[in-house]
Symmetry: D3
Subunit: 318 residues, 6 copies
């Protein structure tokens, strides 16, 4: 923007094309944190993906799908949605740069840190799961080590393939633990599955995670799982929801789908069951629109973000 009255489009080198201002639920777009309780933030980054890329288009598509979510005048206070009490802004996207992971992780952290510092709760739309690492860095700077509540098909706790290439979307919690961002003893993983991952499952459990596999979840059900979660988490919680926790039938648009996953009903009810918990930060990651069809994965993600807003509206006063 120059000082004269000429107007220029966004510069494709500064602002990647997959990024843009399609606001969530067509909420106001603003970076005025003084006017918000919750900020929706896009992190259109997918350089950490190991298999099918495309999650960089996740924020855009989740926002588009969110247009379908209803919010309309109601006649009784308790029937009103979260917007009666919660001020929600679409904060826009992190300015992602091409090709370099480190710079992007720092940019994500840098955008989120002042949000947390201002007492505003960010809901991050990924992007691949790598974005949870800088999100946790920003969260922990304000809240200290967090309880992690993690819905995913994969534990994302693998050691890095090489010390000088520490990050990809499968090493996130290993790094987060080593940096002291999360406290595994207060953390829960739900939905883990996939062929012969028992070795890494055992490693997660040995490290402290309370890990509920998809099979265990199927056997014990939603209520028991929620009870285990509530018995485990303490203090400020970070909720990270990888859309591949859902079965590929419900969420085909993702990078590394795993069969025999959760149904959308189970996932929505699980998240809805978290109301009342003091969750300090949220993300939904790994929505890869090039593999979606009929927008069903993005729609599921948008609904889960809506459930996050309900959690925010229902949080205990701190």
């Amino acid at each position: 923007m120059t000082s004269d009255n000429r107007l220029f489009p966004a510069d494709w080198q500064q602002a990647p094309r997959f990024q843009g201002m399609f606001s969530f639920m067509r909420l106001p777009i603003s970076r005025d944190l003084s006017k918000a309780d919750v900020a929706i933030v896009g992190a259109p980054f997918d350089l950490g993906v190991m298999h099918r890329p495309g999650a960089r288009f996740g924020p855009r598509q989740i926002r588009i799908a969110s247009a379908q979510i209803r919010q309309y005048p109601a006649t009784a206070a308790d029937l009103w949605g979260p917007f009666q009490t919660l001020r929600v802004l679409d904060y826009g996207d992190v300015d992602i740069v091409a090709a370099y992971i480190d710079e992007n992780l720092e940019r994500i952290r840098a955008l989120l840190a002042p949000v947390y510092a201002a007492g505003v709760t960010p809901i991050v739309l990924g992007g691949d799961h790598t974005i949870t690492l800088p999100a946790l860095r920003a969260a922990a700077a304000t809240h200290g080590p967090l309880s992690l509540l993690h819905f995913d098909a994969h534990p994302d706790y693998w050691p890095p393939p090489s010390p000088d290439r520490p990050y990809h979307h499968g090493t996130v919690y290993r790094a987060a633990e080593q940096e002291g961002l999360i406290d595994l003893q207060r953390s829960v993983q739900v939905g883990i599955r996939g062929t012969i991952s028992m070795a890494i499952v055992e490693e997660c459990r040995a490290a402290g995670f309370h890990l509920i596999t998809a099979d265990e979840f199927a056997a014990q059900g939603i209520a028991a799982t929620l009870e285990q979660i509530r018995g485990r988490v303490r203090g400020p919680i970070y909720l990270s929801l990888d859309i591949d926790s859902a079965d590929p039938a419900f969420a085909p648009g993702t990078g590394t789908p795993e069969v025999a996953g959760l149904t959308s009903r189970e996932l929505v009810h699980l998240v809805r069951g978290l109301r009342g918990l003091p969750i300090a930060g949220f993300d939904v990651v790994e929505v890869a629109p090039p593999y979606d069809h009929a927008e069903i994965t993005a729609l599921l993600a948008a609904n889960l973000v809506y459930e996050f807003l309900e959690i925010c509206a229902a949080r205990p006063a701190s």
Copy 2:
């Protein structure tokens, strides 16, 4: 068709291109009501859709998918399908006109009225949900106010946005109630869900509907739901099945999918459980083929129509 022996194709201005004679299960195509007990009628209309259009191609695609349904010689009477006792015709499509909703609603009513008057049961292939309004007008002219049995993600009971624009696919039952076509006290809605619809849910219940949300259905199961339905409906029943009652995983090809919906198994079993009820009219609506893949939504709809035929074959003698 002229009086000489020349033959002309259908006129694209009189008969829209999305309409045509691809018969359901390749049954005979005829408008001779004296030869039928049930008439399959296409209503390729989608001007009432608020989000993703395409349901105008629903009748064509359901008919195509219906080719997969089997009917073959069987060796024992009780193993025979509904065609042993039921005369089913494909009655063809309503001649839809471009761009004007009122004319189309009247055309749909006008085509169905003589079907009901002749004592033939129509099964209407939509088209968007707006087509249920003229279908109810035709049904009520013969049967009086009906019990409505409604499977849907949405209650479709919203007030119209403006008095001079009374109709779209979300105002159908509000209008039907005001015209006295349905008796809410004898009516049931199953599968309602979607973000913060509790206000409209409460309004439906206050108006008289027995409304079973998708969550309540999931909690209570098929048998209890069928029991509630049977305890509620009385007199001639109209069954309207919006394919978005199914979860987007099972029915992606629809205009306003809602996550956390019914599985195809639940939906088929629910409909199968209605055998024995005196259902006077049927429709399956909101199949939008441009959003379908591998024809799975149309196939589900075709199977549900087949279940409707079984209901017709099993109806108590009146």
Copy 3:
């Protein structure tokens, strides 16, 4: 928006879901006409479509595809793009209502009239071709009868099917002529084709149009066609570009594709050849994203809008 500090998402009944603020080339979004020379306006309307609907998603998808168009600092004046001299705003979308054509045509006219009155040039993103009628009404109110320059596979000059249903996307120019909005003697149609349309072609020519069929265009080439156009148009011109002027290979995402059409190269060069003409209004219509793949139709449309901007920047001082 209420007077307190609560924030609400867009209301799905007032603002349809397929509409939204994804700005063209991520230009500033504003309705301050004092700051603009050109206004990009979305008309997400497709109730006038006779075959495959979906053009209501055209404005959104063209805006998304426009993110790929480059605009970057250049070192010499003549290398600079149109934004050096032209102030372009994204004016947003017409608020479309469900199901009723008349109200929507009036809303489109009403939004565009003050744009023309303010001396700002609108570029309308359709929507189906019906939207050109209210656009011409708005243009003629300021400019009087216009020269029509029309790129299309179809002449859209058919008589209405019934006097009380005057409008659909194939009757637009018949209506515009009768209302005195366009002067056929100063008007040109390019690209007309499709099976046995010679009768309507003759009727168009008899009425005054200079009509260049796709076959004639293929035979005579771009330069001769441009010469004929320049020899014919006079006074303020309205340029309406139906994306189905392009062959389905180049523009599959449209409602009524016609084989043997123009290539994207031909179409871009034709439009580029119009620089210097005093074009007062523009539209690009009939982009139907549900039938597009890999976004190629929307991308073609976005590039053509960019060419429109170049025409605006190159217009003779009035």
Copy 4:
């Protein structure tokens, strides 16, 4: 159909599911040859395909796409379409059986033979190119050896892989020549291309074919090609058009696409240029809908069939 008044759907074992009565241009469906000059016949067979199957759905999809072709009242005789003088029926489909090629080839021949015998011209909708062999058998029974006019990317003149497996879609003309169905000296192939096919090209030429490769066609143009065709064919002609003569951009929905092919404009103009030739039989083959998108391949095929009808209407009186 039984003698009582019960009605049964088509039997899936006798009538395959991919076959059915969706009439071309929604023309009357009939097998009364006394009322027809031209019969559209579907041959939904693709067991002869070597690479991507799916052409069994070709007849259905071409018929569906044909709904878009216009035929409307015109005001002058010369503007009227072919239906003014030509009686065209949709004759329906050959009853294809599963899994066995020989039986199917015989069934195709058996259905077409009486059509030719009755002096009616069949236009066969394939199906893969194997169906041309029985079509030629039926044609030659009435007309004797035919001039073959063949548009294709491939010469389909390969020797069979084994004497006891003589047929697949690439051996058709080798077999036809050996059976004396076609006279290579009066035959032309246009559009042949694909990597290093020069050996088979030379073999075709040595055998008598006038073969015009796609490269030669591109160099010499439409007019010269038509001149060569007219100079070569004599006597009754059989026109076989493989949709893969078109470039994959224009006809992606086919089994063995070859790059650098004809444009739809070139193909339509070539066929249109054949008016006046005494063509006795036609087919369009290898439309494989599972690989099509936005129906563009089927639409091209439907338009080419329409051009065939124009050729029939323009044939010299015999």
Copy 5:
């Protein structure tokens, strides 16, 4: 391969294009049976399909999808996957020929017979269900009549349409029984469903099959089903898994999907529950990639093959 040092690509006439060496889980490709316990064999054949073809691409796509299955170093013996004890080779594909079913069935049998004879367990990747017949011929030559364990939506026990056309993918077990390849009294079918198949269901039961319909499975659950299976099978077992046993939401990429099927979770748990049984041969059939999306059907099949490997690793010593 010639004796000089020139290298040639595969010959498209000898080796069909849909066949190739993309190894399962990127295991070594070899035909040295002395080095293997299990051999993955592709049978890219789909001439027996009655509705939607494409299963010929099944082996290729299952192999591609299998790249996503993990196998990595583990720290404890019981956490190790099946490759610690099981030597698994990718044996490559049967050389399928075009157009003739009999030759192909013999080729499939001939490739598998020495595998069984060498004491190696084949896992066959179909291809359509017809391939199970030659697989059973090969298995029975070594093992004698087998217990059949069959997961499918269809019983595939229909009588052939004609004595001289005995085979298609729906007559497999009728033929296998008549040839004495399977012992119905020791055989189980699970997942049978689809409209009015009760006649054939009764016929299967009368013939000796223990048949568990999809509805019965849904009512009784996984554990009871496994118990019934274990109570029924005896001696060497052949496990044939048709991917259409899964619901179309979980496996859209198949030829004849049937609604109201098994979930992926149910299917995986069912197969996992078979560990310990002496299964002598396996196949997974009817994966039709042209109808798949986001590769979810192929991924489900690949995971089921992985479960087969676990069964092999867990087999009792013989």
Copy 6:
């Protein structure tokens, strides 16, 4: 592979899932350079993409599509394909690592360097255009600065956005020039287009490139363009072909398509016209399968690689 006889699948952490051994034209897979004249090398890397990722699947899909290319016994020497004189191996893929660009560029260079050193010509299958930089590094180490022959929609000569992030797919030739890998005075770019790229076009020309825009190419034709190329290049040439040089109608499956591009016919003829030139290295880049349909983009790329082989076979003896 361990020293015992156990066999393990590929490790997903060492060998990414999108990489694998699906050989080009099913040629032998080997790294024995002593047996090859040409080596096909996959570089499944797309971290340098600025817009739509997915080119990491390019090598796999080009190899799959290459199965359709024919090579069969011929009867005359001049009709034989390139394999009569040229030994071609599929060399496999570069082992790509997740998330880090620098390591990958070095791995690509390191794999190619010994190929060049051995006097073998590599044909690299991308991957995004960034891979050309390490390919040029490897080529220049053997051949010194090369003539660049570059077919593309974009000049890829932009300055890097930041000195510490020097590489992405648009900065390749800027870096190559600065490193002395290419000699711009001997280099040609063909096909450049896209909105207002005239500034960068001028910059390229000022730097020394002979740049032929897509518009200039369209005006002057293939022969004149080939003449200009032949007049410009000298010494060893590197040919880099970005598939987006083709129009999106012909190559939708790419990251940054640009309208008004070359047809497949033009592109094939251009490449074919290069026979006789001493080309030392080749690549085809930016095939992004997630955006392809019916495999047409991959098929075009596979055919262009075949044309490269013909160039290699026709090279003058050095």
